[in-house]
Structures are given as C-alpha cells and as structure tokens.
C-alpha cells in the first residue's frame, strides 16, 4: 500500500474473507444435501399421501420424504416418515 493510498478513506474492508468462507461453507453444505434428490420426489410424495389417505385421515404435512445419497456407501436411502393421528 503506497503512502497516498494510506490516507484514502475508502480502503478495502478488512476481514471480508472470513465472511466469504462462512457463507460458502453454508451454501456448499446445503447444495450437497440437495444435489442428488431425484426430480420425481415431489410427485412421489404427493402420490404417497394420496394412497395413505385412502385408509387414514392425514394431511400432506404429516408425510416427510427424505432422500439420502450416502457417499461412503453404495446405496441411497429413501426415508418416508408418516405421522399418524392417534386412533380414537
């Protein structure tokens, strides 16, 4: 940094690299978790809800579908969680 630049007011902000790294870590982690979700997932979830509804009284919020592609394993896991209302 030269002498002239030293007196300038608009010096670049210090420490922005830290923020860049934090933002990147969050977005990259998020993208990794959603990378390999197949495009048919929303449709699958809708149909599952429809089928279960034939027998039980649930809403679409009671069904959670999660797709996990495990890097260290050679398999993918489709997890379907259905929260059922207590039978009365």
């Amino acid at each position: 940094m030269g002498l002239l630049q030293y007196f300038r007011k608009d010096k670049p902000k210090k420490g922005t690299a830290k923020l860049a790294k934090d933002r990147l870590q969050i977005i990259v982690a998020h993208e990794h978790s959603s990378f390999d979700v197949p495009s048919y997932m929303p449709e699958l979830q809708k149909e599952l809800v429809a089928v279960i509804r034939k027998y039980m009284d649930i809403s679409s919020h009671d069904v959670k579908c999660e797709f996990n592609d495990r890097a260290d394993d050679d398999m993918s896991v489709l997890e379907v969680n259905v929260t059922l209302p207590k039978n009365k």
Binding site: G2, L3, K13, G15, A20, K21, V28, D36
Partner: protein, 270 residues
C-alpha cells in the same frame, strides 16, 4: 497409457484456457506427445492463447462430422515439437458435439500415440462442458479465490463424480486436482481474499498448484505464448511446479506468502 485430463471450472474467466495452454505446453516439453482440445464451440480461443490462430484450417467438429481427418485438423506448435492443438469450431452450434463423436476423436488420438489429451472445457455445465469432462481420467479444477468461483468448482466436482464415463461405468473415480489461479498473498494477508486453507476446507480437493496474480499472464496472451514458457515469471514458474506435481514430482509451494517490500516501494506503492 494415454491420459485424458480435463481443465474445467464451472465459472468463466478463471483461467481455464490459460491453464490448459500452460499445462499442455509443460507436459509436451517433457517429450510426451500432447494435444490440447478446445471444447468451447462457437467461442474458440485456445488458438489465440497458443498463438496459432492463423494456422487453423479444420476443427474438432469437422473431424467429428468426417469433413476432415484428424491429421488435417491438428495444428502443430512451432515451439514445442510434441505439442498439438485441436481447435474448436467457430461457426457451429455446440450441439454438434456428440458423445459418440468425442469418443471417436479421443480413440483416434490415443491410436495416434498421444500420451496426454488435455480437454479445455468451456464455462458452464451445458453440452460442451459435459462432453469435455465425460471421458476424463483426471481433472484440473481451476478456481479463483472468490465465492462464485469456489461454489461453481464444488458443483463441477460433483459432476465429475456423477456424470463422467468413469462414474457411469463404476470405474475408479476421476482423479480431481485443484488449481488456484490469480492468488494474491498480500490480499490474503489483509484478510480480503480467501486463503488456500479456506478453499481447501470448502472443496477438499488435492491441491495441484497455486498461480499468483501476475501481469505476465496478460502479456503472455498478448503474445500468444503460453505463460509457462516465460520462466522469468512467477506465474510461469508456478505452472511449471504444477506440471511437475502432475507428473509425480513433489514441489514446495512458491509465491504464496507475502514478499517483504523495500523502503522505496513502501513509500511509492507498487
């Protein structure tokens, strides 16, 4: 055994073509027959960076379509005997780049005795970029210490492990290397720029080299002479180190720490 190496990045303008030219030249200088293929259909530029733009007659698409044979399309470098380039088409649409066509060209190059086939990828994740990486044995992911470039590099690394021939055939995965370009130790010191460690934390790819920000890169492209041929230049030396590491010779990282400035340059800047 011939090796197909893709130079890729996702993001544009980070130095893929500069790096392809430099690394291709470096590999050819060892005496290994090397070709650099420009996959940027419609935006050909490798020829300019390598200074052979006036000798281009046929291109990659001509070869794929059978309008020219490989020997007619290959442009031989005037400086390094074992170096060739296969230019991109400037007029065709990138859909002309078919998987079968690219496979045929790569097979023909291997049969012709090429040891290194460097694929200079276009930016983005469309047809041209996917074809450039599809047949790769190794990949050099070029990254600037900047958020959008690092994110795109992560994305393209994902593509390499899911959309390549090696992944589809469940072979040993593509060996991915990280090449950081336009690195400025001064700005990293002032915490204005992501450091090598930061980038490594996020991407987790083997580091092949770090090319410092250097005016010599622009001069080299002005001259049409790969920057690695300028061994006075820090960038040229850093590319040479990267080539050595690619060939399995360990080299310490250079030009990654701040140089102490003299009294005069401190006063006047520089």
């Amino acid at each position: 055994m011939a090796k197909v190496i893709v130079v890729t990045s996702g993001k544009g303008g980070v130095g893929k073509t500069t790096s392809s030219a430099a690394i291709g030249t470096g590999l050819a200088k060892t005496g290994a027959k090397t070709v650099v293929i420009d996959f940027d259909i419609g935006l050909r530029n490798l020829d300019l960076i390598m200074g052979c733009e006036r000798r281009v007659v046929y291109d990659l698409i001509n070869v794929i379509n059978g309008e020219a044979n490989l020997q007619q399309a290959l442009v031989k470098d005037k400086r390094v005997d074992t170096l060739f380039i296969l230019p991109a088409s400037q007029t065709r649409n990138k859909d002309a780049l078919t998987q079968e066509g690219v496979a045929l060209v790569i097979e023909a190059l291997k049969a012709d005795g090429f040891e290194y086939i460097i694929c200079d990828s276009p930016a983005g994740i469309e047809q041209g970029a996917m074809m450039a990486l599809y047949f790769a044995d190794e990949a050099i992911v070029t990254t600037n210490p900047e958020v959008s470039s690092v994110r795109d590099s992560d994305r393209i690394t994902g593509m390499l492990s899911s959309k390549s021939y090696r992944s589809e055939k469940q072979m040993e995965p593509v060996k991915v290397h990280l090449l950081i370009t336009r690195y400025s130790p001064e700005r990293v010191e002032r915490e204005e720029m992501l450091s090598i460690e930061d980038i490594d934390d996020i991407l987790g790819i083997d580091l092949l080299g770090v090319i410092p920000e250097s005016q010599d890169v622009l001069s080299a492209s002005n001259l049409g002479e790969p920057v690695i041929l300028n061994q006075e230049s820090d960038a040229g030396k850093a590319y040479q180190d990267a080539v050595d590491r690619l060939l399995g010779t360990p080299r310490d990282l250079r030009f990654v720490t701040i140089e102490k400035k003299g009294f005069l340059s401190r006063i006047f800047g520089g």
